[in-house]
């Protein structure tokens, strides 16, 4: 477990990150510290990358049932740069706007990445949420059909982004629960 070169973050960089993300100063500095502890030795933090496994094993993500999807969506070419981690923390922060959260939620839940949340995606979501691999086929179909009957407005057995957005706007819990606190300080 090496440590990056201990460069203090420049003030201009901090200001820039504050302007471009929804994170506060303290949050950015905390993430910077956590990143420095995990990244390989001898590298400047702006050039270092973390693997998806390293990010998945962060305490904030370790117990999340969707951590693989989260890492997939927010990483670039399979690795996380410091700015990728900041971007991820920004989307999951409290201050982020609803449209941004809905956008990334859609990407995370779209398991097969075809631009729509179809029945297959819904079934995988349900199985992940209930944390069980053995579930009766009938119950699964029931739940999937229930979700679709609620949100699928044009009856094509898939949720397009507009339908998903509409469904999330109706649910008051979404903003409150689509949050992860990333810093450990």
């Amino acid at each position: 477990m090496g440590q990056c070169l201990r460069y203090q973050m420049h003030w201009e960089d901090l200001e820039e990150y504050q302007a471009l993300t929804f994170l506060t100063r303290n949050e950015i500095l905390c993430i910077h510290d956590t990143f420095l502890k995990l990244c390989p030795p001898g590298k400047y933090y702006k050039e270092a990358t973390l693997t998806m496994d390293q990010v998945s094993s962060l305490p904030a993500l370790r117990v999340n049932p969707f951590r693989d999807r989260i890492c997939r969506v927010f990483s670039h070419k399979g690795v996380f740069s410091f700015e990728d981690v900041l971007g991820m923390a920004s989307v999951f922060s409290e201050q982020a706007c609803p449209s941004l959260k809905i956008e990334y939620a859609f990407r995370i839940y779209d398991f097969n990445e075809n631009g729509f949340i179809d029945e297959e995606d819904l079934q995988r979501i349900i199985l992940r949420l209930l944390n069980s691999d053995d579930m009766s086929e009938d119950l699964l179909m029931d739940l999937t059909n229930h979700v679709l009957s609620e949100s699928d407005l044009d009856n094509d057995n898939m949720l397009s982004f507009s339908e998903f957005e509409h469904a999330m706007a109706k649910s008051p819990d979404f903003m409150n629960s689509f949050r992860i606190h990333f810093w450990g300080c």
């Binding site: 700015e83 971007g87 990445e113 631009g115 609620e150 057995n157 819990d173 606190h181």
Partner: protein, 601 residues
């Protein structure tokens, strides 16, 4: 028909439609399986929505990953700039940081082409927004217990976190109530006590009332045992009766300032009405902010439904029986206690005296201890969803807790019992609302009590409880807690209204000895107003005004109900239209796919 089946199978998507015979082919679009997703991604509607989301998805068919195609990216970027010089913050874009940086640089170069005035406007709006953000950040730091509640949310979920947020809400509410009472009632008293102003004191009337009514029995002064001093401190009797803790201390009739006389009895009554109104408004406002969760009951087969409902009916009857038994036991115990208090004190043994005195409380506490356990067992059989289960338990326990309160600690490896804890604090708050009229310092005591409860619960939670094994956290019950609090407020208003308007005020102590009832202060004050204002007030409170007003309110309500009904019908029609359009789209895509295949072959 067979081609569509084949294409569906090629995509690995099982066709869910029943087998179609060639003879009864119809143009019903349910025969067609979902069209290939590639086509859907080429549609203009999909693209414009994707552009609006400011992301770029381009499908790499082999690897199936999302790639960013830089060519279309830069053109999209330029499109976006055109829309984008209108002040949407860069943060709202779903891009990563380096892309946002590029976008910002492009924005800044674009800015040069604007006029001076526009540039200045944009710069000032940006600085203003930044200032607002800093201010907002500052105010969130002032929020009480922010880190504690966030860490609880992270470790135990939002269900338990909503309990602690509710506690925080009550602390703030009680603090504000105390401030109101302080401003209106305590401050003039303090000013008088330290001789900053003069005041006139309340005269006890001799003519209309009997002598016995005007004498308040003061506790014996002189040598008292130390233990009775402690008991007085804990139970609010004895020497505490004469302090400002109780209503009797407030005997000032009017505080003389330079220009006017401050009518303390009126202020006392107004402060009561003010804190009740404020509590009502604050709770309702918090309710409206918490949007309501619509619960859909899961579909069940009809015979299961019958079985479940009859079981629930039976169990609810048992619950009612238990509640009835509790009330009867409390009633019998109270009557027994009252009658035996009349016995002479010397004839009783020391322990028996205490037992009879506290018999009602003992029965109440036993009932409050046993009934939650009974209800918890019963609710397991009723098979509700978790959120509903919590709410129903709370409602049932609400009826039991009408006369007592209890804090259930979390010992060992239990889960945190939300319903009992919430009811305990709602009960405490109801008592505080009722009692604040008779004991003005009570809200301050309640504030301290809730602060202590917060820390005790938090520490017991962190050190003795484990997180609930249920993966679904109970949905945010904050709205429901506020609803129960509202019920408590309405229950508190009833005895207060009765005692203010019906029950004659004490002639021996307190600020209202000159009046028949407490409410009389208001008509007396109104009669000192100028006559035009008087006739206006009489007009507004008369029947001639109230009945038409009520009818108008009803009409407005019916109008809104009709409007909502009309909107609902329109929504249903639009949904049907939407699904018809979608069927047409799928049909056309199908035809297009077939035509393409034909031309290829």
């Amino acid at each position: 028909m067979s081609e569509s089946r084949a294409s569906a199978l090629q995509l690995g998507r099982p066709s869910r439609q029943p087998a179609v015979h060639p003879e009864n082919l119809s143009l019903d679009a349910s025969c067609f399986s979902s069209p290939p997703v590639n086509f859907l991604q080429e549609l203009p509607s999909y693209r414009s929505i994707a552009r609006r989301r400011t992301t770029v998805h381009s499908r790499d068919k082999q690897s199936g990953t999302l790639l960013k195609s830089t060519d279309s990216y830069s053109s999209q970027l330029e499109d976006r700039i055109a829309e984008n010089l209108s002040s949407q913050s860069l943060r709202n874009y779903a891009l990563n940081i380096s892309e946002k940086r590029r976008l910002r640089d492009i924005q800044e170069t674009q800015m040069k082409y604007l006029s001076e005035w526009d540039q200045w406007k944009r710069y000032s709006s940006k600085s203003w927004k930044r200032f607002l953000e800093k201010a907002r950040e500052m105010t969130t730091h002032l929020e009480l217990w922010r880190e504690d509640i966030r860490s609880i949310e992270g470790k135990f979920g939002t269900g338990i976190q909503s309990y602690f947020s509710f506690l925080r809400f009550l602390v703030l509410l009680n603090l504000v109530i105390f401030l109101i009472i302080f401003m209106l009632v305590l401050l003039p008293i303090l000013l008088t006590k330290y001789k900053i102003t003069n005041s006139s004191f309340v005269l006890i009337p001799f003519k209309d009332t009997d002598i016995q009514c005007t004498v308040y029995p003061v506790s014996s002064s002189g040598l008292i045992y130390f233990y009775s001093y402690i008991i007085d401190l804990l139970s609010g009797t004895g020497f505490l009766e004469e302090t400002s803790l109780f209503y009797g201390h407030y005997t000032i009739d009017g505080v003389k300032f330079q220009n006017f006389t401050y009518d303390l009895p009126l202020a006392y009554l107004i402060s009561t009405i003010a804190y009740l109104a404020l509590s009502l408004l604050w709770i309702v406002k918090a309710d409206l902010e918490e949007e309501r969760i619509r619960q859909k009951i899961a579909e069940r087969t009809s015979e299961e439904t019958i079985r479940i409902y009859s079981l629930r009916l039976f169990l609810n009857c048992i619950v009612l029986a238990v509640l009835g038994a509790c009330f009867y036991a409390i009633y019998v115990a109270t009557v027994f206690s009252q009658e035996h208090m009349k016995k002479e004190i010397d004839k009783m043994v020391f322990g028996e005296n205490l037992l009879i005195l506290y018999l009602p409380s003992i029965v109440i506490t036993l009932a409050n201890f046993i009934t939650p356990m009974i209800f918890a067992k019963i609710i397991r059989y009723e098979d509700y969803s978790p959120g509903f289960e919590i709410r129903l338990t709370i409602l049932r326990l609400l009826v039991t807790y009408c006369s007592s309160w209890k804090l259930i600690q979390c010992w060992g490896q239990q889960e945190f019992a939300i319903p009992d804890n919430v009811l305990g604090i709602v009960y405490g708050q109801t008592i505080c609302w009722i009692g604040a009229f008779f004991s003005p310092l009570l809200p301050a005591i309640a504030t301290l009590k809730f602060i202590i409860i917060f820390y005790v619960k938090e520490w017991s939670l962190l050190y003795t409880c484990r997180p609930s094994p249920r993966p679904f956290r109970a949905s945010n019950s904050n709205f429901f807690f506020l609803l129960v609090l509202l019920i408590g407020l309405c229950l508190a208003i009833i005895p207060l209204t009765i005692s203010i308007s019906r029950i004659p005020s004490s002639k021996a102590c307190g600020p209202f000895t000159n009046f028949n009832t407490t409410w009389e202060v208001i008509p007396k004050t109104v009669s000192t107003f100028p006559s035009s204002l008087q006739s206006f007030i009489h007009g507004v409170t008369s029947e001639a005004f109230a009945v038409p007003f009520f009818m108008i309110i009803c009409l407005i309500m019916f109008y809104f109900i009709a409007l909502a009904g009309a909107h609902k019908r329109v929504v249903i029609q639009l949904r049907e239209q939407l699904s018809l359009e979608s069927r047409d789209k799928r049909y056309l895509i199908q035809k297009l796919t077939e035509a393409q295949r034909d031309t290829r072959n």
